[in-house]
Symmetry: C2
Subunit: 200 residues, 2 copies
């Protein structure tokens, strides 16, 4: 079964890939607006892990809408949620039997409710899978420690690749980097550089 996984190069989506690869033919899919070239980082990690990689072009209008929402709110949650749902809709329209993302049990954003999942599945004829949604933060951290080689740090210093980085780039371009710190406080990102142990 062909599965497309929304992939950022971070630890959550990388763990999700390793779990799913036991049962699915996983393609790591990085959704982006074409604002930056950061998707290259995700491709590098995908290649290091030995997974096929694809880019998924998002609608730039949704980036504008998300940035406007983040400015209005003063925090990124709703804007990111908006883009994540758009990315899942785009991914579901591709030629996959199943789609997935790396959302965890304790994530506040993005979240996909049971009703949203069912709606995605019914409208597109795919399975939507959130393989980490039954794992808490500590369980994920322990698995990452035993499995992945990771670089971690504040969002603006990490070379990971996803639509969130592009939203930050748009805001930085229009309002300066100070605005990013204001809207995305204490935001830690991770970038996976390899797999620590051979998986059976």
């Amino acid at each position: 079964m062909r599965l497309g996984l929304l992939y950022s190069g971070g630890k959550d989506s990388t763990l999700a890939a390793l779990f799913l690869s036991e049962f699915y033919d996983v393609t790591l899919t990085t959704a982006h607006f074409g604002v930056t070239d950061d998707w290259h980082h995700a491709r590098e990690t995908a290649e290091a892990l030995g997974f096929p990689f694809e880019r998924l072009q998002l609608d730039p209008g949704v980036a504008e809408e998300a940035v406007a929402r983040i400015r209005e709110d003063g925090f990124p949650r709703n804007g990111i949620q908006l883009v994540h749902q758009h990315a899942l809709e785009r991914l579901a329209a591709e030629e996959f039997d199943a789609i997935a993302d790396g959302t965890r049990r304790d994530d506040r954003v993005p979240t996909v409710s049971r009703a949203q999942a069912q709606s995605l599945e019914d409208r597109h004829g795919v399975d939507y899978i959130a393989p980490l949604s039954g794992f808490g933060r500590q369980a994920v951290d322990r698995l990452v420690e035993s499995t992945l080689e990771v670089t971690a740090g504040p969002s603006e210093t990490i070379t990971r690749a996803d639509y969130e980085a592009e939203l930050r780039a748009i805001i930085a371009d229009e309002e300066g980097t100070e605005a990013i710190v204001e809207y995305f406080p204490d935001h830690e990102q991770t970038h996976v550089t390899g797999v620590r142990r051979a998986l059976e």
Copy 2:
């Protein structure tokens, strides 16, 4: 990391075992009240799959409480939920780093809320993991079809082993088998007999 998985010999908990075995040292643990010897079936499946197996003794008082609840309600949901929570508490008190069950996204019972999961983890110092909670019914069915050898049928004809079978046995013993059909209508159970393909 040592993980104890609540195991019935059915398709859901077997799939959960296969997923988790990628990252954890999984012990299949069948919780039972000592009412029947049905746990033997789970042990047979565990041996066929090559997993370590343990029995987990539950409190017979909880079985009585659950049966009383099922009689009062006229349906099994709350009684089963009661036993499942008790089984997780017992499992969390064992010597595991993590505990898990086979609950799926679309299950109405048993369910473990995010708050219940966090409480289990905090009180017992373990991770609680529900690896199938991000999988819908169709996704599970497709994985089962491609991965497991399964016998399926009405609850009363399937040789699977879990506390639910014991609750039915108690009710049948006290009220006759007609009572089971009344309380557990259209209940389909599965029993895994093997793995269809070699897992990587």
